[in-house]
Amino acid sequence: MREIQLSLNQTQKIRLQKALQKLESLHSKVNSDASVTVADTIPISLEDSILKGHGTAERNGEVVATVCGVVERVNMLVYVRSLRSRFKPEIGDIIVGRVVEVAQKRWKLEINFNQDAVLMLSSMNLPDGIQRRRTAVDELNMRNVFEENDVICAEVRNFQNDGSLQLQARSQKYGKLEKGQLLTVPPYLVKRQKQHFHHLVQYGVDLILGCNGFIWVGEHCDARDTVAEEQLNNTEEQNTKSTRVSENVPLETRRNICRVANAVRVLSTLGFSLTLEVILEAFNLSSTLNLGIDEMLVSEFHVLVAEKEAERRSSLTKKKR
């Protein structure tokens, strides 16, 4: 367990440790000797022929881990799922990224991978929604769709032979993200789930958990048809654009956005994996305690969240039994 960078007083420290220990004890029953560091021997039964997967190597007849992480076994396959590494994308992942460059027929996105991801002009729906060949005009208008520093969400399409990554944004739900906050957390905190897009109806907030550890919290917008409108507006009134962004977000929603964002921050500092449940839990805890948004980042709240989470998980496991 890594050190948590918080200034805690003595009681808080003890409480936090207790909570974390409780969590650990709940978890460790599953597989106790699963975590390894580099060069640790992975125990295998010798009579079976095993397959060595990612993060393993053979040395002197023993299987050795080459990364720090958790040993996973699928049938005969043994591999090490690394923690705290860069994001390792897989096809179909939903990611949030930031445009770093507009190049020939493509945008380059920073997605916390070891290369910039590529979003081709041809692999996203055009603003007018028509399926057609991309013309030179489209190419010239690329900056009207996404510019440098825009935040985008998209899906991993495939890997090229050279290891670079191609994205696609062929659905209404993908596209530019506006009026919100982008948070960066370690990617291992975001597990692949069925749903990565969450609409918190009661708060009017959209939450996108990108698999790459980029998390978007923003004002809810309906299926992003706004992009199309904006395209039209953009061509006419380029200069008013900057003012449009900040308008129209009610104060209440903005508060909610910040509260959700802070909940995520707290959880990531504690190193809890981020699911909608847990985030909402932290959110509700803060509002029931009547904490101000800024007070959520105080160490006391961290401890509270950890305790609450420990309680929740233990009750969950009890229920299962």
Partner: protein, 808 residues
């Protein structure tokens, strides 16, 4: 094949080697084949008209049944008759060798082509790939909803609705008078029939009836609608078990040989297997007929003595007489006294009485009853249609999706939330074989301790091939993995019939073949090992190649390096083996591109067939002798005329060599082209020797190539008197690359060209060259110094003394 071809007769079917198929097609197009025996495969090809098409049968075997040829197939095949510009009319002969309904024939000849019907189905592969994308469940349903299948179903809905309403109308029209009575009467009748059936079943229970079926017993036989009357039991035989798996139905296991009264001549001619009872009044004969137990409808108390020898006709006739007499004297009777049966008999009698008492029995209003029956039928049909309407296709697919997801979850491909796991990701990449099974094999490490030959052989099990009747002799090293495979299948198949499943997915017919082939046995040896057609072998080998590629990708996704390496090695070896089929693909391509006249076409490949079968392939030379059309020329140029790389579509990247000449009009002619296995001196030597042989040992005056060292060596050896030069164009092409990074590149290029082109004598060239090199300090440039050494091969001024037909 060759002697046949020489006489103008050819055979064409899908199991032939691709090259032979090609050859037959070419010869046929040229009109050199007078009679061609072909399967449907041929009819599907393009532009293969014949004068006459003969169908030798109207039925065909389509994998599971003999059926009449569909109208679409008929049109396709008969449409081959009649060559444009040659025949006035095409002739189509159908040899109808059996009785055929007029309508069937009409349907076949004039029928509409078969409608397009969707056979959309959900496979594990597609489910996994859908799930892999975000929000899998949603997309899977989305796909189903938007599928062609669903569309067709929805389109059919109004039609069904109309049919229902029509049937309902009909039901309403039907007379409903006295319906209640009729219904009752009908019910009685039905009940009685049922009871009778039950009783007979009881009677003919083998354990009971066998006791009475001794020689001489009189029995009554009824089969479906035909009543055979009384017969005499001769013998009872127990049939051998029909086969594994099918539980013999009760009583079907026994056969009673019975003397029956048959119409004369019915069983004498062996061609008519089914004897039939004589018409009333007709004088019949007695014959021994095997009868199944359920067909016996009544037993008699009486036994008659049967003569020991039944062969003479008189003996049998005497029995007939006795039977007839008995029939008149004794009423039918049974000796079975079981309370159950007695009860049944009583019930039947009761019912019969009731039936008689029923008013309708007397009136016998046939019309009414028929109406009633019809109505019941219609109602039944309506119900069926309605239920069909209700059970939506979407629902069906959703259920299937659910079931299949459950299987995937059990096997660990997806987790409880439907998120695809590592195993699923591997399975996503395999679609040629059975994805689940293959992933299971991979994750269980089955491929681990096999060498790459064995892996290929094992993988060949998953490739669909023709069934081979041959008993497979598996080598011991292959038998083990196969056993393992079966075991795993047994483990991982949840609710399927294991044996059947193993049968259907694993086809080990080619294992041995592939194993030997991959070990380096020649193709000729390999085809001796099996009775599967060589063309099929090649087809499946190609699929195998694809399958191995997918497996390789899956191994990569899992991160299993050693397996991946092994597979890659395998794929590479496979590609080498497969250069054989690939060769012909390319030939085909070339030939399709050039739709000019093809006289003597095919001679080239023909000459080389034996070369292929002999063993390791050096290459293949194809005669072309044709003008290059513009398109072809462009393509060749794009591929670098001297032919280093063929089109990218060829996976094995075999060097494709074209030999181009110039005719007396200054046009380029493609003389020959060749595919060779590698670019070394020996191969080129082979190529040039073969080429010289083919063109009648006339050494060309001059030959132009690129600066390939091995080619130069080969030419020097094979054609010592031929002036060999390097293509200047190729050299100049390399200039930008070689001078890259030199200061004032532009001026160097210009000067270099000036040196080459503007030198009037050899001495002048040498002087200019030296000046050029010194001026730009290029003494160290290896490329230039090498060029200088070889200068007599390329400098234009050096070549002035040879005739070049403006090719330089």
């Amino acid at each position: 094949m060759l002697p046949l071809l020489q006489r103008g007769i050819a055979v064409h079917h899908s199991g032939l080697l691709p090259v032979i198929k090609e050859l037959v097609e070419l010869l046929f197009q040229e009109g050199l084949v007078k009679a061609l025996f072909a399967t449907e495969t041929f009819a599907m090809g393009l532009n293969m008209p014949a004068k006459t098409v003969v169908f030798t049968a109207v039925k065909k075997w389509d994998g599971d049944s003999h059926r009449y040829i569909g109208s679409g197939e008929y049109i396709q095949m008969s449409g081959r008759a009649g060559r444009r510009g040659k025949d006035e009319r095409g002739i189509c002969i159908i040899m109808v060798d059996e009785r055929m309904e007029m309508n069937t024939l009409k349907d076949m000849v004039l029928g509409k082509p078969a409608p397009l019907v969707s056979t959309f189905r959900l496979s594990y592969y597609s489910i996994l790939n859908l799930m892999r994308r975000a929000e899998g469940q949603f997309t899977a349903e989305h796909v189903i909803k938007n599928s062609f299948h669903q569309f067709q179903y929805e389109k059919a809905l109004p039609g069904i609705g109309k049919k229902v309403s029509k049937l309902e109308e009909e039901a309403a029209v039907l007379d409903a008078s006295g319906e209640a009575e009729v219904a009752e009467y009908h019910k009685l009748k039905l009940e009685m029939a049922q009871l009778e059936k039950k009783m007979m079943a009881e009677i003919t229970r083998p354990e009971r009836v066998l006791y009475y079926l001794c020689t001489g017993r009189l029995i009554k036989v009824r089969e479906g609608g035909t009543d055979w009357g009384w017969g005499v039991v001769v013998n009872v035989v127990k049939k051998p078990a029909t086969g594994l798996g099918t539980l013999p139905s009760r009583g079907a296991g026994y056969i009673v040989d019975t003397l029956l009264h048959c119409s004369p001549g019915s069983s004498e001619s062996g061609s008519r297997p089914r004897p039939c009872p004589p018409q009333p009044g007709e004088k019949g004969e007695m014959h021994v007929v095997p009868v199944q137990l359920p067909l016996i409808s009544a037993l008699s108390k009486v036994r008659i003595s049967v003569p020991s020898d039944l062969r003479p006709l008189e003996a049998r006739q005497s029995i007939l007489l006795a039977v007839q007499e008995l029939g008149t004297r004794f009423p039918e009777d049974m000796k079975i006294e079981d309370p159950e049966i007695v009860d049944l008999v009583n019930q039947i009698e009761e019912l019969e009485r009731k039936l008689r008492a029923h008013p309708l029995h007397k009136s016998q209003d046939v019309n009414q009853i028929r109406n009633f029956e019809r109505k019941a039928e219609v109602n039944h049909e309506i119900q069926q249609l309605k239920s069909k309407m209700r059970d939506s296709q979407l629902q069906k697919f959703r259920d299937e999706l659910k079931n299949r997801s459950r299987v995937l979850k059990r096997l660990g491909h997806i987790d409880a939330d439907g998120v695809v796991q590592l195993k699923g990701r591997a399975a996503c990449l395999i679609d040629t074989g059975d994805e689940l099974l293959v992933t299971e094999l991979m994750f269980n490490g089955t491929f681990n301790d096999l060498d790459h030959h064995q892996v290929a052989a094992l993988a060949s099990c998953f490739i669909p091939v023709d069934k081979s009747s041959e008993q497979i002799h598996l080598r011991s090293e292959l038998a083990k993995p196969l056993q393992q495979l079966k075991r795993i299948q047994y483990e991982c198949k949840l609710d399927l019939n294991v044996d059947e499943y193993v049968e259907s997915t694993v086809r080990p017919y080619l294992m041995d073949v592939i194993y030997c082939w991959s070990k380096g046995a020649s193709f000729a040896d390999v085809i001796q090992m099996t009775d599967i057609f060589e063309g099929s072998i090649i087809r499946s080998a190609r699929r195998l190649d694809e399958f191995l590629n997918q497996l390789c990708a899956a191994a990569q996704a899992v991160g299993e390096v050693s397996l991946e390496k092994k597979l890659q090695q395998r794929v590479k070896a496979c590609a080498e083996v497969l250069c054989l089929p690939i060769l012909f693909i390319y030939v085909e391509e070339v030939e399709l591109d050039n739709d000019q006249d093809m006289n003597e076409e095919g001679v080239g490949p023909l000459a080389n067939i034996d070369a292929i079968e002999k063993g390791p392939l050096t290459g293949i030379l194809m005669a072309a002798h044709r003008l290059l059309n513009m398109d072809m020329k462009r393509r060749l140029e794009a591929n670098d005329i001297a032919g280093i790389m063929p089109a990218k579509s060829i996976r094995s990247k075999l060097p494709f060599v074209t030999i181009v000449g110039v005719n007396n009009h200054g046009q380029s002619i493609l003389l020959e082209c060749a595919l060779i296995s590698r670019e070394d001196a020996n191969t080129f030597k082979w190529l040039f020797t073969t080429w010289l042989e083919a063109i009648g040992d006339v050494h060309p005056n001059a030959i132009l190539t690129n600066q390939c060292e091995s080619m130069r060596k080969a030419i020097r050896e094979v054609m010592p008197n031929t002036r060999h030069i390097f293509c200047l164009w190729h050299i100049l092409c390399k200039v930008p690359k070689k001078f890259k990074g030199v200061i004032d590149y532009d001026s160097i290029c210009l000067e270099f060209k000036a040196v080459i082109y503007d030198s009037l004598t050899i001495e002048m060239f040498e002087r200019n060259w030296n000046e050029f090199v010194v001026k730009h300090e290029l003494e160290r440039n290896e490329w230039l110094s090498k060029l200088y050494v070889d200068r007599e091969y390329w400098v234009p001024i050096d070549l002035n003394h040879t005739f070049w037909a403006r090719m330089v």
